[in-house]
Symmetry: C2
Subunit: 704 residues, 2 copies
């Protein structure tokens, strides 16, 4: 017996260590008490009423109790304060707020989530038109620290560019025999579920909501898009568990959505069909949805993965995805809910021998023709790339193809293909590139514009969460930055991702007795800023993707998918590598883009280097736009990538003694693994291509 | 998310269908009632007493009750009979037995398991010196059918060539999180254990013992060589479960052995060490073993996998494997038990970049120098090949290297690497080649001679079982033939494997109203006789091995092990393929053989084609002894292999209506899968080598 599966076992056993009872139960992430020091030393007036205003008041009161400040809530007399947080339209505004408003800075509506930060003489003023805005304003003050109290700071208006900023939890209620408690989760168990039941750790869920609100997230799903038997029941029998979570998250402005199975009318309702045009089916969904809103009045809506990877869907009944999505949309419409309908539909039993089928084409081929057929409360949720969350993909052509449909773009905060929170891979720069990408060509509207929509009517941004019951929330402590960056970029896609990272560092690593905060931040920037590109360097080259171990998606497996049914191939042979997706000679995928990009991607000469092998099959000695050959580029980037990881580790070691020892140790361990794994990537990929191409490294380095 | 693991799930779900309550609970395999028709119509006298004589009597009585014959047991008067089954030395023999003995045919001892089949006039006589011999004689009569009653048939003496004919069950008591209830089991659950407990399905265990006895097996282990916590307890707290199984198997002459963990003194005994030279450890084993024999007086002994794939062993204490094995041998010696010590020890964390380490060398390197140091009741259990149960390997050089050690050879009846009982792969011819192989060169002693030993003192033959709680015992009904063939070849390694297969067919597919038995047998021979070579043709070529999917060992994965830690590589590049194990330029493994084979294997010119890539790295255009090139051989055999499987399926279809419909359907389903899987093997391997070599198929067939 050769026990290859023991490897899996070791992976199963790569779990978080038990908590030391002397340590704090959970790491505070970007909201440590110290982050509230500046605020907590001030005199603060909170004006307004309501659930979220109470949250603001609680936050301020806690901070002031710790750091010696003082709080007033709706005082009926004049008080001398440093900060006013005021809800407009809630009775007579306090003096400084009136003064600020009078200065004209608050003209125009701020919307349900926006706020104004300004000053009235020495007093800092936050104004909002709705309670959520006040909460976001509070966290903005926390983020700014002392700068918020600088009276010379010009007034700022903040409104989220995207109305919907959602996290999808791929958490299972019952442990899946293969996928476990959290599918593609690398941070321990689920915050919500354990072994088939609700965990009911409401304090932790509340803490989670607080972190999310401080990053800007305002919606979550609490269960996996792959909906199995137990999870299906959340919609009906187990609705109480959902309502409880919603109750806990509501004070932080976070709405709960549910992933549902399209087969629910049969699985739960006992009907003989789930046909979207069947009246009984429509009635069942209407009734069921009404019950959901009876329990959760601000319920967000449904998320659906249909006709995909074995999940049921409208195709079973000869209906299309507009029929399917509209069925649920009609049930949700009376209550103000939306359906997020995933565009991730493809043939997952492809024959690798069949060169005519191209998985990259699938979402466009399935959905583009349906543009205009979706109800207004359908949001089509499109992965950022045409395949599957690879480290580098072109932006999905669907995004430019459906002007009459509300589109959301889906990202992965969980690092399924980017090192699974054992590798440092800061994704902000990648997401920023995606959001700034202009599908119609330079100067045109961006992806962010599309998902923002006119007057905020777009579908927004969605990401698969990277959080779990791990004490650091995210397994790798530095992976917290990805979660934070997601929320911030969803709020404002124009933010500089490195500036967002700096915000996160400032909050997470506050000044301490043992450390120079500037030095800590500089070191962290050196480690993290370019870490996504470093990860790209030592993994699959030039956009080719899917050279990952099929068993768990961790580590290299150059040919791991080459003969599989998943439609993800690189076609490397002794002469060259890459997928011809041109119109002229390939699968035609390049033609799914608007003309500008269709032309750019069509030929190897115009295609950007980093996507060359995604779009073209080229000889190993093909000369890149960079001047290097493909094969030499592969060698060079892989040697460089490992050197960069080694440098990361050396830099991290300089922080020993300067930060929380538990954080230090966890990261140090994972950096050891990252060095090992990156070396394995380098050697396997270089060896693979050397054996195939026979071309030696120009610099004569060791290739096995 | 791309759910590669759903594949695993599908594999998990490849379970046997629930039993139809109208069907017999379990298939009778090679002992259907009809196999006893000839015997059961006769008048039979059984002479002798004892547990195994009672078994003989039961068998005969059941047969006679069904088919109209008659039985006498130790009659004190003369009876007119057709068959006498008599134990010598048990009182006065019946007349025909005396007559047969007088004719001289019974001279000399028959040993504890031998028997004599002869005739006294019209009466068939079976004589034995011990009860087990009488039982084996009975099954011989059953096998012979009418021929046994042919008075002109010359007398036959039968004694097993190998004293020890053992099956190892890799059954877990508790379900292993990765390996399941039965490690490398493809026949449902365990016959013995379920979900952490003894199943206590004693009727089925008895039926199993009966089948084994009729094939010639006389020993089994009831638990996996990988011994986890629950399984360790079989030695102590759960010994009652073992005793119960032993009680049920004893009437069929089968002794029970246990797999134990070397760490038992710590795990079970609470000692702080398991050092084999520690007196407390020695005392613990002596005491524990005494307790085992108190409960199971004919207990066989221990099987140990030590210092291998994570199992504990003597290396931990700076001791060697002789120290380890002798520790257990000393504990067993007072009771007549033996320890089977597995030679499967290698570095399972090898670095693929390190060309100096060769897993094939490991068993010899670890054990050869220990020859002569083992106690007389240690049996060193050596896998037939130097690596791991591949479809084709050279015979292990350890077999010729340890003349002063009792050696057993270990085979796999379970088809871990040979199609997992979804593929028809009749292994008898392969085992026969191994057993007939002459390690010192043609004309010298054979492997069978080594494991037989002088005067039967050898270690015998051991195989990993292929049985489970499946209704056909073995998942694939035709895989029963492998189990049967193992027992028969262990009894007599000189048997023609095709003749053994014919015995199995004759018993298993008795004449029926709807079938011409000769036609059924001829068809089955066409399907099965060469099926191992067919399997070899469409899988890894020319002895290179391990082109299997690492995840479960089913289906192709040409590079699946190429960069892994398991030490099983093929080193294919654009110029050639294979592992250089020569002394001159390779790992030197070829030099572990006695001179004749060391020379033969040393050069590509003298190395047999079927092992060429095991011993040599050669260019794709290297010309084989067959006259074909390596690359053309790969193409030709892979196309041929799939054609042969398609022919198997066509032939099987001609049997529809002629055999048990349940057997027909099960095999038909699996043949569909075999055709699919063989096609996948062909296409992946041909494509892989075409892409690497660039050499087109001479015959212009389609390669993808």
């Amino acid at each position: 017996m050769n026990a290859e599966e023991w490897v899996d076992l070791e992976q199963l056993m790569f779990v978080e260590e038990p908590l030391d009872p002397d340590e704090p139960r959970v790491h505070p992430a970007w909201l440590p008490p110290e982050a509230f020091r500046t605020l907590g030393a001030r005199r603060v007036l909170v004006h307004g009423d309501g659930l979220l205003v109470d949250t603001v008041l609680d936050e301020v009161s806690r901070a002031c109790a710790r750091y010696g400040g003082r709080v007033w809530h709706n005082p009926s007399w004049d008080v001398d304060v440093d900060l006013v947080l005021a809800l407009r339209g809630a009775g007579e505004l306090p003096g400084p707020a009136v003064e600020a408003a009078r200065a004209g800075a608050g003209d125009g509506t701020l919307g349900t989530e926006g706020f104004l930060l300004t000053h009235a003489g020495p007093v800092t003023v936050v104004l909002a038109d709705a309670p959520a805005g006040l909460l976001y304003g509070l966290f903005h003050v926390v983020r700014l620290c002392a700068a918020a109290f600088d009276p010379t700071r010009p007034p700022e208006r903040h409104r989220p560019a995207l109305r919907r900023r959602m996290l999808n939890h791929w958490d299972n209620v019952a442990v899946h025999p293969v996928m476990g408690q959290v599918e593609r989760g690398y941070s321990g168990g689920s915050i919500f579920w354990q072994d088939g039941r609700s965990r009911r750790d409401l304090a932790r869920i509340r803490e989670y909501g607080r972190l999310l609100a401080a990053s800007g997230v305002n919606a979550i799903t609490v269960n996996n898009v792959n909906v199995a038997r137990t999870e299906a029941l959340l919609l009906t029998d187990r609705l109480g568990d959902v309502a409880e979570i919603a109750d806990v998250l509501r004070p932080y402005g976070i709405r709960v959505h549910l992933s549902v199975t399209f087969a629910a009318p049969m699985v739960l309702g006992g009907l003989s069909t789930a046909d979207p045009l069947d009246e009984k089916v429509r009635g069942w969904w209407a009734e069921t949805t009404r019950n959901v809103y009876d329990r959760v009045p601000d319920f967000g809506g449904y998320v659906v993965k249909a006709d995909s990877e074995g999940q049921p869907g409208p195709f079973t009944y000869g209906r299309d995805h507009a029929d399917g999505a509209n069925l649920l949309a009609d049930a949700l419409a009376p209550h103000g809910g939306v359906v997020h309908w995933r565009a991730f539909v493809y043939n997952h039993h492809q024959d690798w021998r069949d060169r005519s089928t191209d998985r990259a084409r699938a979402a466009y081929d399935h959905f583009a023709a349906l543009d205009g057929r979706f109800r207004i409360n359908v949001i089509l949720q499109v992965k950022y790339g045409p395949v599957d969350f690879q480290t580098r993909e072109p932006v999905s052509p669907v995004i430019a193809a459906m002007p009459a449909t509300r589109l959301a773009v889906e990202l992965q905060v969980t690092q399924e293909y980017t090192g699974q929170q054992r590798h440092i891979c800061h994704l902000g720069p990648w997401w920023s590139e995606v959001l700034r990408f202009a599908p119609w060509g330079p100067g045109g509207r961006s992806v962010a514009d599309v998902v923002a929509g006119a007057a905020g009517a777009g579908g927004g941004l969605v990401a698969v969460a990277n959080t779990g019951d791990d004490r650091f929330w995210t397994g790798h402590p530095l992976a917290q930055a990805n979660l934070y960056s997601f929320g911030r970029l969803a709020w404002n896609p124009e933010l500089d991702p490195t500036a967002v990272l700096d915000e996160w560092m400032t909050l997470t690593f506050p000044p301490s007795a043992t450390a120079d905060p500037a030095l800590v931040r500089r070191t962290l920037h050196e480690i993290m800023d370019d870490s996504w590109r470093t990860y790209e360097r030592y993994t699959a080259p030039l956009g080719v993707g899917f050279m990952v171990n099929p068993d768990g998606h961790y580590g290299p497996g150059v040919d791991g998918y080459e003969y599989s049914r998943w439609g993800t191939y690189h076609f490397a042979d002794r002469d060259g590598v890459g997928v011809d997706r041109s119109r002229a000679s390939g699968t035609g995928f390049a033609g799914q883009y608007p003309p500008y990009w269709a032309e750019v991607y069509e030929t190897p000469e115009t295609c950007p280097d980093e996507l060359l092998l995604f779009f073209h099959h080229v000889p190993y000695r093909h000369v890149l736009r960079s001047g290097s050959t493909v094969i030499q580029h592969i060698y060079d980037t892989h040697f460089a990538g490992v050197e960069e990881v080694a440098a990361m580790r050396r830099r991290w070691q300089t922080l020993n003694g300067m930060i929380d020892p538990a954080v230090y140790e966890r990261v140090a361990e994972r950096l050891d693994e990252q060095v090992r794994s990156a070396t394995e990537w380098r050697d396997q990929i270089n060896t693979y291509f050397f054996r195939k191409s026979g071309v030696p490294d120009e610099r004569g380095r060791r290739i096995h």
